[in-house]
Amino acid sequence: MVEIKVLQNVLKANDAIAAENRKRFKETGVYVIDLMSSPGAGKTTLLEQTAKRLAGEIPFGVIEGDLATAADAERVAAHGVPVLQINTGKGCHLDANQIHNALQHFDLEGLQLLFIENVGNLVCPAEFDLGQQTKVLILSTPEGDDKPEKYPVMFQQCPTLVINKIDLLPYVPFDLDKVRALVRKIQPEGRILELSCSTGEGMDAWIDFLRDQVSRSVR
C-alpha cells in the first residue's frame, strides 16, 4: 500500500469563491455584513428598522437566506430595499457560491452596504466564509443567557454582538451582566450593542456603527 500526501482543505472550493466575492466587494466599495442568529432573534426586524433609519442616506441591499418562503424578502422589500431571497431547501447555512450567484442580481455599484441575512442557526454558518468584511451576531433576550457558553464558536467568530429585545429584560430570565462577561472573555475587544427594535432604544448606536463601518470602506 502506498500513502500519498494530499493536504487539501475540504472547503477549498467554497473558500476560493468567497475570496472572489471579497475581491468584488472591495473593488465596488461595498461593505458586507454576514448577519447571523438563531431563528426568531430579530434579524429581519433589525433590517426593517435599519431601512427606516438609513433611508436616503446609505443605499443598502439585502440577501435573505431561509430554508423556505420569501416572507423575509417581502418584509424588507416593503421598505424599498433591493433584496434577493435564497431558499436553501434543507441547507443549514448559506455558502459562498449562493452569494456569488445572488450578486448577479445586484447593482453593487449603486450600493454602499450589503447585509447577508444567514439561515437562523448558531452552528453551521460559522463554518462557511461568504466573502463578508465582518460578521454580526444577534442574540435576543428570550433565548436565554447561556448561549455564549453553548455556542462559543459562533461568538468567537463574530466581533460584533447585538443583544436584541432588551425591552423584554424585566420579563425573561436573562442576566445581561453575565452575558457581557461571557462575551468579554471570548471577545475581549469585541463590540456589544444592546437594543430593542420595538422601542428603538439603542438603535442610534447600531446606526452609528453602520455609518462608521461604511465610511471606512468607501471607494
Partner: protein, 120 residues
C-alpha cells in the same frame, strides 16, 4: 447538519488526487478535523459511506483525526492550547491579541491505496 455536502467535497478531492496519481483502489482516507470546526465526525463518516456507495471509493475507509485547538499571541508570540472555555487571553503576557492557528481545519491529510494495479 451539512456533513453530506462536506462528504461530497471530500470525495471530489480524493477522486481527483487518486486519478492523477493512478491510485486504485483507495483504501484509507486520512482526514484532519479540528475540534472548533462545526463537523460531527460520526455524521461525516456515515455521509462518506453513503456518498461513496457503488463508486470507485466504495472500499475506502475514512480515518478521522481530531485536532486540538491552538492559539498564538500577537504580542509575545507564544503558542498555547486554546482553552475549552474559549478564554481569549495569552497565558504568558495577558494580551487579548489572540489568533487561532489550529483547530478549525478540515483537511485531507493523505490517501492510502494501491498504485499501478491492473494498469500497464
Amino acid at each position: 447538519m451539512h456533513e453530506f455536502s462536506v462528504a461530497q467535497s471530500l470525495v471530489e478531492i480524493v477522486r481527483d488526487v487518486a486519478a492523477k496519481e493512478g491510485m486504485q483502489p483507495v483504501q484509507v482516507v486520512h482526514l484532519r478535523v479540528g475540534r472548533l470546526s462545526c463537523i460531527d465526525p460520526e455524521a461525516l463518516a456515515m455521509a462518506y459511506e453513503l456518498v461513496t456507495e457503488k463508486t470507485l471509493l466504495e472500499a475506502s475507509r475514512l480515518d478521522i483525526q481530531r485536532v486540538d485547538p491552538q492559539a498564538a499571541c500577537g504580542d509575545c508570540g507564544r503558542t498555547f492550547d486554546f482553552p475549552e472555555d474559549f478564554s481569549a487571553r495569552c497565558p504568558q503576557c495577558g494580551s487579548t491579541d489572540i489568533r487561532i492557528v489550529q483547530g478549525r481545519e478540515l483537511t485531507v491529510d493523505s490517501i492510502e491505496g494501491e498504485i499501478g494495479n491492473g494498469g500497464d
